[in-house]
Subunit: 450 residues, 2 copies
């Protein structure tokens, strides 16, 4: 049994939905389908979700225009699929009810936004029925997706999984709208960003699927940012851990939280292209066999800074590191890494974590409370991460990597490699990111001398 | 004005003391002299300090034997120097008073141990007088070394420095016994290990010396452990920071605390050989000009372990790193480094910090309190440190270093380089230390291709 999730671009138009039904009906294992709301059909198009947000954030007159646009969008899809449009009457009524305030919504925005996924799920099941397939729209309440009472950032509750498991016994293809669930007292709540991916992952974990297929508009995950290296190699298999390290810095495959349910249930995830479904795609698995290639990908990101502190005999002072991190915690600052020398410690964080007014407070607290010899802040740093499980068991990865930096004339300011076996982090100046990543790609992926 | 400190082997015998007086009298700037107690004259010899400890830890009869041995040792020195021995009567009396308990000492051991340095200082000033020089024995109380009330681990109090500055006005050569000071209510207290170095450093800082000369029995500091590399190169100049990083792992130039007063007062320190005073020696300074050589030394040590923890989405959890370090702090464990990945963190510590019974508690607390996915302990780790200020401004140090590890077939398990510009740490298996350090030495100090 497979769970297939289709993203916004895969359900943007009637022609896209035809591809989706082809994919679904080609494999009898694809019994559970999760859908997003219709996305952009062309670069300047507006996503249905953005139109729905427009309804919630505009005055009454403008809101009507947004409602018309939403209805028009779905009407076009239904007409192109030769389906009746009467399903939209109820949609219009409920959207108008929100605008007129006929019904009091605690979290109006969640209810508005969910309309996109919900309507699309109904449209898709109608179309499958029209084609002669046994398919059912299943509301998340009926499916058993029970969530916490947090508008716009609901968390799935554990009891959902047992309920979802019951879906295995149902006949036909089940179409579930992504992005939302219900509290135990039946109030609609939306998930945070990446919400349809979350629904897919929850459903896959609940029904104990053999595979969670995530259909999108790219053939696969690339081993390096295609903005930096032209036509980079595809990654065919990577582990959850590798995906997580890659998505951290410059990769946007998935919102990290989205995969947690699938990850915990050890469900493999496939990333596939709706527009090119015969392509191999990328598989994300719990474990993979050691390959010849020591690293699977190179991630990079800019906008970091480091707080460097030094104090003679620091390493004799029990609690110093803890105290430094505690000051940051108390000031509400998250950090990324904390490499250390004997008498010094650097803390690396994203620049937005330390606006100038906070910088002053933090520097003063470090100076006063830790009685350090020096505190300096270095901005405009970039991070480059080599990612690959088992990487640190290969003698020579560090050698090759640092040679690549040298060839690119990029100085390494910081290196951090724990015993994690998953990544090696290099801190450099921001302006070194592009040459460094290009040199690393050449060394690890082009020159075949591993 | 220079402060010259002579270590145990430099004052072990009359012939050594002749070298010492030659050194002192050769340079009129050497106005302040700090001495240790007589050390070993040959491999199986017993240090005077150890004889004195014997007095304090033995029964009354055995203690008498130790007193005789101490007196005999000084008598031989005095006789060989053609000096009268009546100065020893008072020494014998006070040692016997300790044994008979005629005088109640709160900290008997401190008083006993201090006798070695104190007597030697008297002997040396007598000898200088005998040679026709104006020299004075100056007791630490008279010199103004005021310390905290901590037997065996006294700390100098700030008021000492102003008092010591007065010594500049005195005529002649002043001989001060190392290793002890007095509380403000005039009770004798000994410094911790490396105590004579501490006295030298305090005096140098107090009188604002131009140079603190530390005379010992080696020509200089070597760039690598001579047990690993035969006849390694000498280091002529290194900074305090570099010395500190080197002394941390396998180097025993100085006890780290000893240099703090000199460091704070920015007094340069020279390490010289009493037996070969014309040798250039090693100078430790606050700052040094950038040299061609990117690193000054390679330190290494074994006996480390790492605690590795991983947890999906760890880096989203504000306070995780702080909490992990706090658990260690609460269990009384000091750590050395804490390199991190996105979802994992390693903490490196010395093995003696985590005996098996503590390991169980720590692993349980980490599992329970942090709800991690994995905790693993890896023992038998070694650390190799490349040390050199400004090192990280040179593109290619990391490349050369990791190539050397590769040539030695030693896998790098961890790398830690902060923005400190002083050191780069490599974590490896213990059995890789010797081949790795030899390969690094060859690459950085023998092959002249920096």
């Amino acid at each position: 049994m497979k769970v297939a999730k289709f993203g916004g671009s895969s359900v943007a138009s009637a022609s896209q939905l035809k591809k989706v039904t082809d994919i679904i009906t080609q494999d009898p294992e694809r019994k559970l389908v999760v859908v997003s709301a219709p996305g952009k059909r062309f670069a300047d198009d507006i996503k249905v979700t953005d139109l729905l947000i427009g309804i919630g954030t505009s005055g009454r007159e403008e809101a009507k225009g947004y409602i018309d646009a939403v209805i028009e969008r779905f009407k076009e899809i239904l007409t192109d699929l030769h389906l009746p449009t009467d399903v939209l009457d109820e949609v219009r009524q409920s959207l108008e009810a929100v605008v007129h305030g006929d019904k009091v919504y605690e979290n109006k925005m969640d209810a508005l936004k969910a309309t996109g996924e919900d309507t699309l799920a109904k449209v898709l099941s109608l179309y499958l029925n029209h084609l002669g397939h046994q398919a059912y729209y299943v509301n998340p309440k009926e499916a058993g997706i029970i969530v916490s009472d947090e508008p716009g950032s609901a968390q799935v509750l554990d009891e959902s999984f047992d309920r979802l498991y019951q879906l295995r016994d149902r006949d036909g293809i089940l179409i579930i709208p992504g992005f939302f669930g219900y509290t135990s007292d039946e109030r609609l709540m939306a998930f945070p960003r990446g919400g349809s991916d979350i629904t897919g992952s929850i459903v896959a974990a609940g029904v104990k699927a053999d595979l969670y297929e995530n259909f999108t508009d790219v053939d696969s995950v690339y081993c390096v940012n295609p903005m930096i290296v032209e036509q980079p190699k595809e990654i065919h298999t990577l582990t959850y851990k590798e995906m997580r390290e890659l998505s951290y810095a410059g990769f946007s495959v998935f919102h990290d939280e989205a995969l947690i349910p699938a990850f915990r249930a050890k469900i493999p995830v496939a990333i596939k292209n709706t527009n090119n479904p015969s392509e191999r795609g990328t598989r994300i698995v719990a474990e993979r066999p050691q390959s010849e290639q020591p690293i699977v990908g190179i991630a990079s990101d800019d906008g970091f800074l480091s707080i460097y502190v030094s104090k003679y005999l620091m390493n004799r002072e029990r609690g110093f590191g803890r105290h430094l991190l505690q000051i940051l915690e108390e000031e509400g600052i998250s950090f990324e890494h904390a490499p250390s020398g004997i008498d010094d410690m650097s803390v690396i964080l994203r620049e937005e974590q330390l606006p100038p007014e906070k910088e002053e407070v933090v520097v003063r607290r470090i100076t006063d409370e830790l009685k350090v010899d020096t505190v300096t802040i270095e901005r405009d740093l970039g991070m480059v991460m080599l990612v690959g499980e088992g990487m640190n068991e290969r003698i020579g990865v560090a050698a090759r990597a640092s040679q690549a930096f040298q060839q690119a004339s990029v100085n390494i300011e910081m290196i951090n490699q724990g015993s994690s076996e998953v990544s090696m982090m290099f801190g450099i100046k921001e302006n070194g990111i592009i040459p460094a990543v290009q040199a690393l790609y050449k060394s690890f992926f082009v020159e075949n001398n591993s």
